[in-house]
Symmetry: C2
Subunit: 560 residues, 2 copies
């Protein structure tokens, strides 16, 4: 254990590394990775189904290369014959309710067909439904009329927000009508004393956050997709993101919901109260309900004060035990200002430099790296706290080396080391991604075991181009016990898939983890819920689904 | 607006007031109010049904003066004839499952009858059921066997934690069997890296918090009843308390629940994960479900780091507008360290001094007082922040005068000015209490309007002993928009009651507030849910109740 005397030169090393930062182009290049991510998604065949991020606008949806229909990729799925096929009369009804401009009908024109494509295919180009109709309601009453008609006529529907989901939940599978909330995008109310925002479900997350910024507040959720995703979709999928460690989950922050049930009933539970103990908290069922029991049309949410002081540090560690110690120390000494604690293993950083050709912020290589962010009200106090923390963890030998950003550009560059991993991991061909939650002590063991599995079966080599697997990497939101396991491949390979599934799910099940920490079930995880939930829970969930949606018209073929 | 120069003398006044604090006995006397509260409850006839606090141990339940049966106080309630009356065979079954020691049967002995009384009457001496049997299961499996038997035989049950509720929810009305969770009191697990605690439902809140304190953590909930109340009961009633402003509600902090459904099904949803997006979050229905759809047997909860630095300040303000400004400023400049922002109106402080005979911390009188508490990791930083805040609000004329506690005793004395109000308000005869939530801008108007109502109808005078109403006061958790409206009376008076109800509920309904912010519905608020929830919501809640408890055996006559 190094003495406290060793700590001071170590801290100077942090500062020195920091000073050379601005001259170095290494991280700015890394940052560029995220700017080219949409091109990647277009050009690469990938088995990716997890953490990627959509482009800023929907106009990026490519049409030149046709995406396979979901029904072809998942041949075991069959259209449910209970659902009515759309007729001319149905379309007339919807046009009468919404006006012609707000119903996009396939085949009416080249433009319509092309526009429709953006709503029935997902941004990862992995899922594509066969819907012939997209509806864009402008009010809760319109949503109610549409749903009532669909329920009465057993027409299946697919509620849709920003269509930035990662598990195929936001696009239709067969001919379900898409009900897109994008037109319902008004901020209804914000009270800067209580910090409570009420907004339509179709409000873009970034628009809501910008509005809050003008009033010194912040949305208690941050996602890479924030320029596209909608807050209704965020709530419907119980999105986690970067601020969960600090501000907690949507189950705590959402104060009220307005939603429409399949039978057209408008549920007005849009309270603006932090405390209201008058009966079952039914809105919670819609949070993370993935549009299977109703459509959220508006949200009331508690928004914290925006912090003027933000600090970001990046450091290298020798083992996962040290990572856990560092996390414990950060919680203890940074406590109220800690806003992110992210983990990246050495291999994740290597593959990122390999994909981008640039170096990492630290001189030497380490098996683990962490990024911490603090947000607080007083710059001086926060700097003192973070310096004291770094002195302590380096003095005690918990952390080997580190850098502390001195300005916003440097902070963004350090974040790019974490955020660039997702794209870099699919740079060499394909990637199998798992978004899981595992109790902290065993969190990283999954990556180690998975890596060993591919070494043992001879399918992995970082250099040998004849092997399908290039590397197995791990990174994620350490503060939330949320790991992203990525198996980076040179090509899509059935044998790799067979080596992974159900092995990964069984591994997680044994540790009482979650097979979907923040991305939800959608279409891709539906079959695997049994690995994270026991049969009693699944039966109780089905009971709720049947209670609210007895005809099963809401987002069918997905969830449970 | 006073210039910044005026601010310095004002701040000196704070310090001076502070320095004379230790020599003065005034606040220590106030603190004593809370120590004699149980004697009050014994000696006083009161219509109180809201914020009071139980004694530290159940041994204080008095037996000398018989409490009226609830069925006599609420003659409109009739026993539901669907429920089976207990037979000798039923009792034999329960004794076989639990052992004789864990079934208390009325009439078996003088001791048994006397012991049973403590479980069927509430600590406020307002509610008393006619149960003949109390069961004390020692395991989840035992709870399951009991409930299955009761459900099969249509025997009504009353789940019970620490029996510290304020709305008659925790004691039986007629002959429902009491199932008390007190024997299930093990802390199952605590991980000090993630801060996740798993404990039996019967664990006393203070025991859990003391366990956490040993590991540098804190339970994210604090209540005056913490020495008696149980965490299962806290979760079942979605308790709010003092730390909600800082740590958020139980809907966000509870990560998992183990519960038993009426039919004996054990719901194992006791996850230890911050993120788990695999299906409907059903545990949320049990949070605040008040034991009407199942019995919570264990809880998994996220516990934050304990803050070493705590500061408390108390100040006077000239209007409710200034109170709102001060709150806004506190949120802005104290942000991450703000842990309480409490409001007390001038009349609440007057009645407290009148009841105790002692003076308040500030020299002059003000129409409003606030108490703020900060909790953080660094004493020096926090002191700087709170001093800067006080300098600012006094310099800007938002706050008129204030004191800042310099040690724990002073802090406790300041807290007593807030916590002593509840008891003082019933010191002169009776009190009508309302625990409500109203959007912040109109929060205090209810008190002003209510006071004016009693002045106008000639029923109130602070000095004239012939008037029933002595005063109308308001105080509460400003940070949570949670107001306690107390109408302090010289005697219990039907006309006062008629002037209050449904007027108070209608007033709240117009502002879309809640008629029960943190105390729940229980028996007393059941009839009034319509003032806070629309018919659609009530119908949907009844649907859930019928789904989980088709025989209606769980905590009948209450909730919805």
């Amino acid at each position: 254990m190094p003495s406290i005397n060793r700590c001071l030169p170590a801290l100077r090393r942090i500062r020195m590394a920091n000073q050379t930062f601005q001259q170095s182009a290494q991280l700015r290049a890394v940052q560029r990775v995220s700017q080219v991510r949409w091109q990647h998604a277009e050009a690469t065949t990938t088995a990716s189904n997890a953490e990627n991020h959509p482009p800023e606008s929907r106009s990026g949806v490519p049409s030149k290369k046709q995406i396979k229909f979901t029904s072809e990729s998942y041949p075991q799925l069959k259209r449910d014959s209970r659902f009515k096929e759309l007729t001319v009369d149905d379309v007339k009804f919807f046009k009468d309710v919404l006006g012609s401009d707000n119903a996009i009908i396939d085949g009416v024109s080249q433009d319509a067909t092309s526009e429709l494509e953006a709503f029935r295919a997902d941004w990862m180009r992995k899922f594509r439904g066969q819907t012939k109709l997209v509806l864009k309601p402008g009010s809760t009453e319109e949503v109610s009329k549409i749903l009532k008609y669909c329920n009465d006529n057993k027409i299946a529907v697919n509620p849709q927000g920003g269509n930035t989901g990662l598990v195929g939940g936001s696009v239709p599978v067969f001919d379900e009508i898409v009900i897109n909330l994008g037109r319902m995008n008004k901020i209804r109310d914000f009270d800067d004393v209580s910090g409570i925002l009420v907004a339509d479900a179709g409000t873009i997350l970034e628009v809501a956050d910008n509005h809050l910024a003008e009033h010194g507040h912040i949305f208690p959720l941050d996602l890479a997709a924030k320029g596209t995703c909608q807050i209704g979709g965020n709530v419907a999928t119980n999105a986690g993101g970067l601020r969960l460690l600090r501000y907690g989950s949507l189950h705590g922050n959402v104060l009220g919901i307005e939603a429409v049930l399949p039978d057209g009933t408008i549920v007005n539970d849009l309270g603006k109260l932090r405390k209201n103990n008058t009966g079952y908290d039914l809105k919670q069922l819609f949070i993370g309900g993935e549009g299977t029991i109703g459509i959220i049309t508006a949200v009331s949410i508690l928004c914290p004060q925006r912090s003027p002081a933000v600090n970001v540090a990046y450091f290298g560690l020798s083992s996962y035990e040290k990572v856990q110690e560092a996390f414990k120390e950060a919680k203890k000494s940074l406590q109220e200002i800690l806003s992110a604690f992210e983990l990246m293993d050495g291999n994740s950083q290597k593959i990122m430099t390999r994909a981008s050709g640039h170096k990492l912020p630290l001189e030497n290589e380490y098996p683990f790296y962490c990024l911490i962010e603090t947000s607080g009200s007083n710059e001086e106090h926060d700097s003192e706290k973070i310096s004291a923390f770094l002195e302590h963890v380096m003095g005690e030998g918990i952390v080997e080396d580190g850098v502390l950003a001195e300005n916003e550009t440097q902070a963004a560059n350090l974040w790019a080391c974490r955020e660039g991993v997702s794209e870099a991991s699919q740079h060499f061909g394909g990637v199998y991604k798992y978004d899981v939650s595992i109790p902290l002590p065993e969190l990283y063991q999954l990556v180690a075991d998975c890596r060993q599995r591919f070494i043992d079966n001879g399918m992995m080599d970082t250099e040998d181009e004849s092997k399908p697997v290039l590397d197995v990497i791990g990174y994620g939101h350490m503060g939330d016990s949320n790991l992203h396991l990525n198996v980076c491949t040179r090509w899509y390979d059935k044998e790799v898939e067979q080596a992974l599934e159900p092995w990964v799910f069984e591994w997680i099940q044994k540790r009482e983890g979650s097979i979907s920490a923040e991305h939800g079930l959608g279409l891709t995880k539906k079959e695997y819920i049994g690995y994270s939930r026991n049969q009693t829970m699944i039966d109780l969930m089905k009971q709720i689904k049947n209670l609210y949606d007895p005809n099963g018209i809401m987002n069918p073929y997905k969830y449970i």
